[in-house]
Symmetry: C2
Subunit: 362 residues, 2 copies
DNA sequence: CCGTATTTGTTCGTATGTATT
DNA sequence: CAATACATACGAACAAATACG
């Protein structure tokens, strides 16, 4: 007959929670006694106790024997949320990643969030491990730099779980194609295009490109490399383009560069390198064959890292926002958490930084 | 008469928890029904219900209406503990710190701990901020790289609080003098000594030293610098020693170096630099005066960082364990947490890495 | 300091509803 | 359908802590 769907103690709980919503119960204020509530709502004291018990566990009430029951909303309700944000990057110590992490950390700290950091060493099993660890306790949000983004994503289930749980997340540098998710990245294709365009302007025509193929950054930079050649009406022979994977990075490009340099007159006059790290490596290769940068071979890197200015010949390179990107990612994620704002795609335009590693050619 | 101190439902709860401890209740196993337990322990079914209710909230049990009550220990019991370790360093992105963090992170991840990272930018207010944030939720342990270790420690109260709470912590690189705490560090004094000793062997006699004075690493390296001179019976004039603080690091040492180099015949023939970062900076100063490294001025750095080999003239420098130290710190801290082992003082001996920045002198 | 009233904490008993097997 | 299990609800009693006169 009567509505038995919802238990009395649940209805009572809802009623009391509405009191908090309406501000009827301020911090420290005494709640009517169990007996009073029981009489008022026409239920037994036991039922009231069950309601109070749950509200106490959830941090809304504090019950003190002999004194009474008191409201206790303020901190707890906030503190209930984790206020912890995770970052998963491929590497921690190498290259531009420390700067990205630093930018994010500074922003998070200033907004009162804690930063959980984990790395995948560009290995998808470790990515899974990191995701599991991160989500083993409540998390407010997650920033992820995809591992081997060009290869598809075996950990898709975890990301879908995040979406289900309502944990917002962002990608940086690249995103998994399968995943609907906002991303902060550099327009890598434009970067590759600019590098080649600049070299062509300087009179180079035989330009070799070295790109990583297991992440999308490399694939996109290569795309730009090819597009710029096409726009200039220059044919690119397969031999001019070297692609490699993470596992091969310390060996294959170096060897291929040596091969190209040994072709005498027909050798390339410029190298476009996937990043500054590789550029420094290939500058060594050039030196090893007795040639000079930039007189004999010009070199362009990517990311404007500390390596670019630490090396003997200062590298001409394309910028990467690094710290700014980390900071922006953190700030966007906080907006998503606190204001439920939608994530926005942010694309940074890389700029050419001209230093000493490219020479004019006639 | 009977022990009324501890309520029956609490005693029952303790008993059931001991069943979990002893492995009597495996995951998924059905627990005897409320009525059975009630009869077995000579309490009412309501009392059993209260116990079960709490155990369910805490994740030990799962109650399914019409079926029964089931054990559910595995993940939860682990998850109950924090399994989170914090690292507070001065900097995140600069220099050797990413490598230390990386070593620690890899170790922690493999042992199932999460890593909370925060930086102080070598500022004590931010150190306090970081400590507060870190300890705002349960923490298993903490690794700290002291901020301006040569000055006093205004955040002492926080560290004492950690000790009281029984949260183990370790220091790396240096420790606060006021604090009884284990530390993993390099024998910086020996490093300073070795640098000077090597230069003396190469025939140098006028050696200038540049050291940071607001952290103990700098102070100790200077100590070794002076001790080596004293052991060789060589007097050190005040002008030969330049000390500086974090705030002055980008300007003062460079200017002082220029001044020293302009003294013509009496100028120093070698620089001992607080770290590789400064060494690279001072090599630029040498180049700016038209002199050459190492022909005119030899330079020695500290820490064997990536800068040491990235620069034009490869730096002769002293080693720093970096990744190994981070890994060791994490591993020690885990032993302290899990086995309650005492922290051990670990001191690494720096080794001289001879490269191209020091020349023989006659 | 004592006694009393009030309030929450603990325990038992009983009854009914509802899901599962 | 019946038996069994947990879920909800009420009533009663006593214990322990607190407040107050």
């Amino acid at each position: 007959m009567t509505n038995r769907q919802i238990p009395k103690y649940m209805k009572l709980k809802k009623e009391l929670l509405s009191w908090f919503e309406a501000g009827k119960l301020q911090y420290g204020e005494q709640v009517p006694s169990e007996n009073e509530i029981a009489e008022q709502f026409g239920v037994s004291r036991q039922t009231v106790r069950q309601t109070f018990g749950e509200l106490e566990k959830e941090g809304w009430l504090e019950r003190i024997q002999g004194k009474g029951t008191f409201a206790r909303n303020p901190e707890r309700r906030e503190g209930e949320q984790a206020k912890t944000i995770g970052i998963i990057t491929t590497y921690i110590s190498d290259y531009i990643f420390p700067h990205i992490v630093r930018g994010a950390e500074a922003e998070l700290r200033s907004k009162g969030y804690r930063l959980l950091l984990s790395s995948t060493d560009n290995n998808k099993d470790k990515e899974m491990e990191s995701l599991q660890l991160m989500t083993s306790e409540p998390l407010s949000g997650l920033i992820i730099e995809p591992t081997k983004s060009a290869e598809g994503n075996p950990n898709l289930a975890y990301f879908l779980e995040l979406q289900e749980k309502g944990i917002p997340f962002l990608m940086i540098n690249e995103k998994y194609r399968e995943l609907e998710c906002a991303c902060l990245k550099v327009d890598d294709e434009a970067g590759g295009y600019k590098a080649v365009q600049y070299l062509l302007e300087q009179g180079h025509t035989r330009i070799a490109g070295f790109f990583k193929r297991d992440d999308l950054q490399g694939v996109n930079r290569l795309k730009g490399f090819l597009a710029a050649h096409k726009a200039a009406g220059i044919n690119v022979s397969p031999k001019q383009v070297v692609t490699y994977t993470t596992e091969e990075k310390n060996d294959l490009p170096y060897r291929k560069a040596l091969q190209l340099l040994e072709e005498g007159e027909k050798r390339p006059t410029a190298f476009v390198c996937y990043n500054d790290e590789l550029a420094v490596q290939l500058m060594e290769a050039v030196a090893a064959t007795g040639l000079q940068v930039p007189e004999d071979v010009s070199v362009i890197g990517f990311d404007d890292s500390s390596l670019a200015i630490a090396s003997g010949t200062k590298l001409t390179t394309l910028t990467h926002p690094k710290t700014v990107m980390g900071q922006a990612a953190a700030s966007q994620l906080i907006a998503m958490i606190e204001q439920g704002r939608m994530a926005q795609e942010t694309i940074y335009e890389p700029e050419l930084v001209v230093r000493d590693s490219v020479a004019k050619r006639n």
